[in-house]
Amino acid sequence: MNIGDPIIPFSLPGVDGNTYSPDDFSAKQVLVIIFSCNHCPYVRAWEDRMVQIQADTGDRGVQLIAINANDVSKYPADNFQNMQKRAQEKQFNFPYVFDESQEIATVYAAQRTPEVFVFDAARRLQYHGAIDDSYEDPDAVQHPYLRQALDALLNGQTPVVASTPPVGCTIKWK
């Protein structure tokens, strides 16, 4: 996807038993799609920050959705049951949904986990890439790309940094 492209709709099962689509959050000013998974250490390094970002920005009109598209036959740690466990263990405060067919990851041209797509109120892509610039140490972050993009959009501005290389594991394709 390119900056400015419209969101691609989906309808995917969540770990809480509900099915989620972008339209469920039409009242939200900003929608953040994060391709994620269970086993990847980059995701594990960043997932507390994902929870914190949702907690910090939810009231201001931001909604995160995490999508796991990995091939669970080769990576059973990423199966739906383990997704449910992870969501409970980390107390995810956003939907965690399963793209079993990998169709959505394919049409988004997602490559890594985690990989962030931020859509504005008109559901146009405004930021794509990494969460920030320090997976290993949250205290060493110098460029909180996602937070900066969210702040800009919530203030009616365009993110200064619209794109960064996503850093993480490759999506495990079938």
């Binding site: 086993h39 990847c40 250490p41 980059y42 594990r44 390094a45 080769k74 990576y75 997976y135 290993e136 850093v167 993480g168 594991c169 490759t170 495990k172």
Partner: protein
């Protein structure tokens, strides 16, 4: 002492992992050559017992031995640091402990021989 650094190309942590290993070795004054091994297939992962990238073996022993039964995999490896955080890289402290232990074992073996 034999040091082997195994990695999977698709995982971006291997360059930083090699740098970290070299940095800790330099701190310890170790000039042992590191054998860098690229794991490219599932068969190779199985042969090496490679559970993720990067993996560091010292005298054939994993610096962070995984639980038995951990399946081989062509993916990034998660390291749990002592501060409770996960990282795609082993901590310098973990590498240092493993190298120091191996050095001690090498010295003990030398003393026994002499």
């Amino acid at each position: 002492m034999k040091i082997q650094f195994l990695y999977y190309e698709d995982c971006p942590s291997h360059e930083a992992g090699q740098q970290r290993l070299q940095q800790v070795m330099a701190e310890l004054g170790l000039q042992t050559p590191v054998e860098v091994i690229k794991v490219e297939t599932e068969a190779e992962a199985t042969r090496w017992g490679f559970i993720g990238s990067p993996t560091i073996l010292i005298d054939g022993v994993d610096i962070d031995p995984p639980p038995s039964g951990t399946p081989p995999a062509l993916t990034c490896r998660a390291y749990l640091w002592q501060n409770g955080r996960f990282s795609p890289l082993p901590s310098p402290a973990l590498i240092r402990r493993a190298l120091t232990r191996a050095l001690a074992n090498t010295q003990s073996a030398t003393e026994v021989k002499s």
